[in-house]
């Protein structure tokens, strides 16, 4: 067991505890190891961000933690503890009592994620009627308030409308309202702003943050966009190829990032200070094949600091600073790193 896992074991009173979660898919081409040994914990009221490229396993992770994946052709090992209860061993019915009521999720594309032939009001009332046993009238009133809370005016009118009659931003607000309806303890937000206009993105993120604070809800924000997690999370997990490669409190991650992958992600964000027409930095190469991942460090084919050691030996998670772990042989600031900086013509020292 890694040092991270031992550390987790000692803690108690956590909201969510994930231990060595692995999710493998059986496909015609082989077994895809989408999530390959992830452990983390989430405290009450904490906001956690999970970042990584497309294909790194973050979406599968969030659904895996909730237990939303189908049974067929999916192998899930490891444990997920929600307030001391073990989610992984629960039956579907038991999980159904938790979903929506104590754990909620909002998804990426609100247009396709809302039922097109059901009125918004009915969809919103559904969790209330199922989990809280509200009558139709009661639920309606609660829904009106919910709609107001998420910033949708004229809730009475909206109640009887359909998804296609609302704008993208409004639909996402409806999704959020739906998730909040029963007052869950944790909200999973899976790329909530990716499908939205940039102008609306900030509003939605602020709304989510506000609601989390108001309702004392924990948040798990999954995204590929470092900019999104920067202002709205307390702690960030960086994922690559189904594994956690770095985890740190948000400010520390940005000020003292260790993983070259994190560094690369950070560098690829366009910066306001740079002159216009500056070429965007990208991370060359593609994510590894998850059916047969490489033996050593999974990022090494694309890492500018890679050495033979990286190819052969997989780095273990090491601790540096409070709650800051990373997995790399030649992290930012190491000798190897400094060597390469000189070759690349960059200043040494942190950004």
């Amino acid at each position: 067991m890694s040092s991270l896992q031992t550390a987790l074991r000692r803690e108690s009173g956590t909201l969510l505890k994930v231990e060595d979660l692995k999710t493998h898919f059986v496909t015609a081409g082989g077994i895809v190891r989408a999530v390959d040994g992830v452990s983390f914990s989430l405290q009450h009221g904490q906001r956690l961000g999970i970042v990584g490229e497309s294909g790194c396993g973050k979406t599968v992770l969030s659904r895996s933690v909730m237990g939303l994946l189908p049974r067929r052709n999916v192998i899930r090992t490891g444990s997920v503890y929600f307030e001391e209860r073990e989610l992984t061993s629960m039956s579907l019915r038991e999980r159904q009592t938790i979903w929506g009521a104590e754990m909620a999720m909002i998804f990426q594309d609100p247009m396709t994620s809302l039922n097109p032939v059901m009125k918004i009001g009915k969809q919103l009332s559904e969790p209330l009627r199922i989990h809280l046993g509200s009558s139709r009238e009661n639920a309606r009133q609660i829904v009106y308030k919910l709609l107001q809370d998420v910033g949708i005016p004229e809730p009475e009118k909206r109640f009887d409308q359909y998804a296609h009659e609302l704008s993208g931003g409004m639909r996402q607000r409806v999704m959020i309202a739906m998730a909040l309806a029963c007052g869950p303890s944790v909200l999973f937000a899976d790329e909530p702003t990716t499908a939205l206009d940039v102008t609306v993105q900030a509003q939605i993120l602020d709304l989510i943050e506000y609601q989390c604070r108001e309702r004392q809800m924990s948040l798990v924000l999954v995204t590929h966009d470092l900019g999104v997690v920067a202002g709205h999370t307390d702690q960030i997990i960086v994922m690559y190829a189904g594994r956690i490669v770095e985890v740190a409190p948000t400010p520390m991650l940005f000020s003292n990032m260790k993983m070259p992958y994190t560094e690369a992600l950070f560098q690829s964000i366009p910066k306001l200070e740079e002159p216009s027409h500056t070429r965007l930095t990208t991370i060359g190469g593609r994510p590894p094949n998850l059916i047969s991942p490489p033996d050593g460090c999974r990022f090494s084919p694309r890492c500018p600091y890679t050495t033979d050691k990286c190819i052969k030996e997989e780095p273990e998670l090491q601790k540096v600073g409070v709650d800051h772990y990373f997995a790399c042989h030649h992290p930012v600031g190491s000798d190897r790193w400094k060597e390469v900086q000189v070759t690349l013509g960059r200043r040494t020292g942190g950004r």
Binding site: M66, L68, R72, L92, R93, Q96, T97, I98, W99, G100, A101, A104, M105, F107, D109, T112, S113, L114, N115, P116, V117, M118, E126, P127, I130, H131, Y162, H164, M175, M178
Partner: protein
């Protein structure tokens, strides 16, 4: 609203075209006069009666005038009598309609009752044992011509094991319910099974598609129970193909169940048409065909309206 008017206009147009074609067809049959006389039955018939008969059918008029009279007769329900036996055509058709409609309703109900739950189960456990089994079985039923099915079932249940009567009588439901059931059971089954197979296939395909949608995942994440997801969320958006097919079949079954009606000796509308053709009962055939076409066309029209209800996006004029 515009949608409704558009469809209604199409309806009217087709009705006109059908009636016109039917009216035209009569005029195009060579030797129609001789045949009519011959069908009138044995015994000499004098000139006067002959002329009266032919005049009543307006055969000697020019085409458009013929058509005009035809429409008039249709609308005023002045449908005349059969050549052989002087039966009022109206009652003949209404009797036939009663049987055919009954059969159609029974067959549709049974078919839907089988197909909908089966499709839900098959789609939910997509690729599972029940799914593959039902797909194979329904394929088999679709490939079986109904007369083959009627023959085989007839052989087993009527001839060999003598459960059901070979010749079905039109016994009213309220007169003798059990007899009614016995008489109508086999023809209904023979019609319903291939129907159910088609419906099953259509609904299952749409359901499988819908179940992969994002909004189903959302519903799951809300903690909605499995049965509620199937019936409440997945079923409605998946009904289109099924509803189209069922609607088409309302009209198709009423007129097209000729084979089953013949096999079980039920004098439905289809069978009467065939017999009418054999007996040169032109008027009867004409009107029957028009009635059948009307049933068909009106049903399709109503279906288009129902579409508007099922999918609000269609109503709004845009498709999602």
């Amino acid at each position: 609203m515009r949608y409704f008017l558009q469809k209604f206009a199409q309806l009217i147009l087709v009705v006109f075209a059908v009636t016109f074609t039917v009216s035209l067809a009569l005029g195009a049959i060579p030797n129609s006069e001789e045949r009519i006389i011959a069908a009138k039955g044995s015994g000499a018939i004098n000139e006067e009666e002959k002329n009266k008969l032919l005049d009543s059918l307006n055969l000697r008029e020019p085409t458009l005038v013929q058509y005009g009279y035809f429409v008039q007769d249709l609308v005023t329900l002045d449908w005349g009598v059969t050549l052989n036996g002087n039966q009022p055509i109206k009652s003949s058709i209404s009797d036939g309609l009663k049987i055919s409609v009954r059969l159609m309703v029974y067959a549709q109900l049974v078919a839907l009752l089988i197909a909908i739950p089966a499709a839900l189960l098959a789609a939910y456990r997509n690729g599972g044992l029940f799914d593959r089994f039902s797909t194979t079985v329904s394929f088999g039923f679709i490939s079986t011509p109904n007369y083959v099915l009627a023959t085989v079932l007839g052989l087993l249940l009527t001839v060999r094991w003598k459960i059901f009567p070979a010749i079905s009588d039109d016994v009213g439901f309220f007169e003798a319910p059990w007899d009614h059931f016995l008489n109508f059971f086999l023809p209904t089954i023979v019609l319903a099974l291939p129907l159910a197979a088609t419906y099953l296939r259509l609904l299952r395909a749409d359901l499988v598609n819908t179940l992969q949608s994002d909004f189903i995942t959302t519903a799951r994440a809300k903690g909605v129970s499995t049965s509620r997801i199937l019936f409440g969320h997945a079923l409605r958006p998946s009904l289109f193909s099924l509803v189209t097919a069922a609607a088409v079949n309302v009209g198709a079954l009423v007129g097209g169940s000729v084979v089953v009606e013949t096999a079980f000796n039920l004098n439905g509308l289809g069978r009467r048409t065939v017999l009418g053709i054999f007996a040169s009962e032109f008027r009867l055939v004409q009107i029957t065909v028009v009635v059948l076409a009307l049933v068909y066309v009106v049903t399709n029209f109503l279906v288009d309206i129902v579409y508007g209800f099922l999918d609000p996006r269609v109503r709004a004029g845009r498709l999602g």
